[in-house]
Symmetry: C2
């Protein structure tokens, strides 16, 4: 006996098809728009689909598994049946975390959950404490970043489905690693999205980069919101995730008195109490709005942390000299100093790239409300050919970058392969089977970069399987001498971060940054710790107290309160 | 010598035409998109217009005066030249106010600012302390509610222009009356709106009932926001207004880190300090979101108060039995009690009319964050034939309504003529000169009410001048015996409100309300004061302590802690 339920207020007649037999579903008393049916000979692992008003077979919007892909039937899952071995797992705190972002499809040659498990010891050895997975829910095809997902409750079949994902999370916990999942609530992918047939999931009152916005505040929106809130709780409860990362929350237009993000924060807070382990929520936000991460008591949404793109952009622009696109808003040493002191470089200032004032400051926010990084899937993959930082700067400068990320007053995050300066790119790849959509994606990509001066033939075709293959990490590099020094540098920086309490002190009013715009040096002072770096063309000598405990280069020398830094030299000093 | 300035980033070439002569305007250094020119022989009172890229003559978006109407030339005004006589004016506090909403065009037979002055003594005598004017800025034609305005800085020429408005505000202040102006920042009228030719005032990323939303958070939005913020300050500074009422703030879609409402609140707070008198801001909000009126320190926008439509709807539905449209969400005595205790009846509950949960509660908000009313221009005028409450209920019941509004823990507001139960309707009227637009408005109105069962010929034509004339107050009624009792009732209730400190105690946790859903009585207890009313069909006797100080009817009798109430009887008791 299996009970099937679906919210389908737009249908007059709903059926569930199991084993070729259709069973009419009845309205559920007291639950507007819900239909349910019990099917006698069905149980866990059975394939099913819904039929609305006698139309085509449709997967369950909340399908727990799509073993034949996004367009195939849904399959029931008994979450209680999985043999978890993480009973003693007490969870992780974001504030002491070192996060590592990885994409299951390209992290290993196999591109599966199972294969990730084999690499976890590398992460533990590096000092990582939290793994963040790019979206793993079902998207059409087998190659994709995951942001085109259409079945939000089903782990991708090609990665290994529900079983595989649970094994991966379990294996992480066994090794003391927390796991965060990237979830996309601002849109669904362009193919295989049938939600609008079921109910008012979308609205044309707001427009987003992906078309109609999700309906978070119009008629029928309660169930749309519940669809996302229950999805968040499902990953945390049934898959034992430790946290979630919400994609592009600026595209969640919600004018209701309780923003969806706050509703999510409240639901997850309750779940954390119920599960008796810490859970955390991270937002990708382009708003520079402190409200996202401010406590609910003072009018915030209560999200634990957000990605700090301003810190990234300030750092990247200084280190690469790039000034195109949004980097036009960045580039000075002073901005990098501002980023280190307050995360938001734009806190009410005019942004030339946006042609408006942007952001606002909340001086009371601590630094662990922000993730700091040199790279992430977007900053690498949204470049024309997916170049990593290692293709844009010298090995010495990469060390400076790593030192700043790993000593900054933010929760540090690395992107897969960054630790050894991977030479493989991370490009934009898709696997749309609809030829028209595939062509549109390929051409859209080419024309997007034509405006930056790229020739069409130089921009990799997202639909080409080689673009995906090219983006896979080459693990033979990790052990190669050419990469060993950078890997060791990351390991030592992470170890230092975990051993020096001053680096885990997130009070931003305890941070001091001095820079010289002309000579291009920067000194970051945190309680008991000083980080001095030189990204200028000439050697410099700057004031920096304490004993040198880590240096990128033998030419970095400290003494009598001064440190000598060659170009692209960096040193970490600890107060005596 | 007169300096002309305009923000016109969409133009390549801007000229100002004065006296038939065009002067090229030059970009203003340091002010993106601004053009300026000094014209030698121009001064205050001179007519001018702008020419963008050699196109047609356009009025100044910030025109201070449009003596020939919305489509005519702009005329300069020297605000410093007006002979103000309100030097000693110290301003008013909203919390002790009794507000009176009036529409200049229909308040008097003449329909001018000057004619309003003659009626101010009536308001003083009634006990009103604050006059609220429906929008007075220039709109096309001569008949209109004012929400189709297109020159936001110019008082309507037909009402009496800048001089007339200043004389009215001055006359109010001389009589101790504060004055609030209704301003519309969420859209511009459908005719005569040329702002988009000047700059990115509008955006298609959001959709409102009036079409494209104003651009508050996209490229170029800084100047759009400044256009509104400086408009707000202009009315308060140059016209000596005491406060502003922001129309339909739910249609101000603003995802930036500083919502326009908060920016307005900050600017007006600064101006209040500068002018050394209290200024207040009131919002019309359909959001039931406490954030609008919550203090900025706890994440609110810092608006002083908002209209309480929930209180209106709860009261109206109970008193009239109406259940169509949004009244479907109301009608129980319990909801009226909830409204009296917390303003928002919908504070997270499911609203059938909206088909979603609506609103949220902030138990810390005091009652003077809300205006309470039985009627306003919308609640009367948005009915098919503009019926006032006096056309929907008995005189006795009107007394009950007035007693509840004027003893409720909210800032009370009356709508022009309500105090004497005016028999004239307040209908929807327009004066569009474009025949196509006029026809669309007339037909739109008819079809809107067809869905409520109204025959087309029974819905007044907004474009018909008779619809306007019919909506004018008949002042002969005010003194007529048939209306005298209700007028006196309002006068006594207002006097009571101003004399009993318990009625000006806005702590909502000090409010107790008991109701009987079946017998339909309600007892409102405020510190030291009890208000008991009966809207059932039979006489009732209810617990109510104190001495009867006001009763609607000789059959209302109190004694030994009980009060006897005939149907539609109400009494106010004061603790001994």
């Amino acid at each position: 006996m299996q009970r099937f339920e679906v919210w389908a207020p737009r249908a007059e007649r709903v059926e569930v098809e199991v084993g070729g037999r259709r069973t009419p579903m009845a309205p559920v008393p007291g639950r507007r728009g819900w239909y349910a049916a019990e099917v006698g000979d069905a149980g866990p692992g059975v394939a099913y689909a819904f039929v609305l008003d006698g139309g085509e077979l449709r997967p369950d919007p909340r399908s727990p598994s799509q073993p034949e892909g996004a367009f195939g039937p849904s399959v029931t899952v008994d979450h209680a049946a999985f043999p978890w071995t993480d009973d003693g797992w007490g969870g992780v705190r974001l504030s002491s975390a070192v996060v590592y972002e990885l994409h299951v499809g390209t992290f290993t040659p196999e591109g599966t959950f199972e294969a990730v498990i084999d690499k976890l010891d590398h992460l533990v050895d590096l000092g990582v404490t939290v793994v963040e997975l790019l979206p793993v829910n079902e998207f059409p095809g087998t190659r994709g970043w995951g942001y085109d997902g259409v079945e939000l409750y089903a782990p991708h079949h090609h990665y290994g489905g529900p079983e595989g994902l649970k094994r991966l999370v379990d294996a992480c916990h066994q090794r003391g690693l927390g796991v965060v999942l990237d979830v996309v609530y601002n849109h669904l992918g362009p193919a295989g999205n049938h939600l609008a047939e079921f109910g008012p999931y979308f609205t044309d009152r707001y427009y987003t980069p992906w078309g109609d916005a999700v309906n978070l505040d119009g008629p029928g929106s309660d169930e749309v919101r519940a669809f996302f809130v229950e999805n968040a709780c499902m990953w945390l409860r049934d898959y034992h995730f430790d946290g979630l990362r919400f994609d592009a929350v600026h595209a969640l237009v919600d004018t209701s008195a309780m923003h969806l993000l706050e509703e999510l924060a409240i639901a997850v807070e309750h779940l954390s109490t119920e599960l008796a382990r810490p859970l955390f929520l991270v937002a990708e936000s382009d708003l520079n709005d402190p409200r996202v991460v401010r406590a609910r008591e003072v009018g915030g949404y209560g999200i634990d942390a957000q990605w700090s793109d301003d810190f990234h952009h300030a750092l990247h622009a200084v280190l690469t000299g790039e000034r195109t696109g949004y980097y036009a808003d960045f580039g000075s040493m002073a901005q990098l100093a501002t980023a280190l002191r307050q995360a938001f470089v734009y806190a009410g200032e005019y942004s030339p790239h946006r042609d408006r004032r942007h952001g606002r400051l909340d001086p009371l926010l601590p630094g662990d409300r922000f993730l700091g990084y040199l790279q992430n899937h977007d900053q690498v993959g949204n470049r024309a050919v997916g170049e990593r930082s290692s293709m844009l700067m010298s090995p010495a400068r990469l060390k400076v970058a790593a030192a700043l990320v790993l000593t900054a007053p933010f929760v540090p995050m690395l992107f897969q392969g960054e630790e050894w300066g991977s030479s493989t790119p991370f490009q934009y790849f898709t696997d749309h089977h609809d030829p028209e959509l595939g062509r549109a994606v390929s051409e859209g990509r080419r024309s997007e970069f034509a405006s930056f001066g790229w020739k069409p033939e130089d921009v990799p075709d997202p639909q080409d399987p080689a673009t995906f293959t090219r983006s896979k990490l080459d693990w033979s590099e990790a052990a190669a001498p050419a990469h060993a020094e950078l890997l060791e540098w990351h390991r030592r920086l992470i170890a230092l971060r975990r051993s020096l309490p001053g680096l885990l002190d997130y009070r931003l009013d305890q941070v001091r940054v001095d820079v010289d715009e002309h000579a291009r040096w920067l000194v970051l002072r945190r309680p008991g710790v000083t980080v001095a770096c030189n990204v200028g063309d000439s050697a410099v000598e700057v004031d920096a107290p304490g004993e040198l405990v880590l240096s990128s280069d033998n030419d970095v020398k400290a003494g009598e309160g001064r440190v000598h830094l060659p170009p692209d030299g960096v040193g970490v000093l600890v107060d005596g």
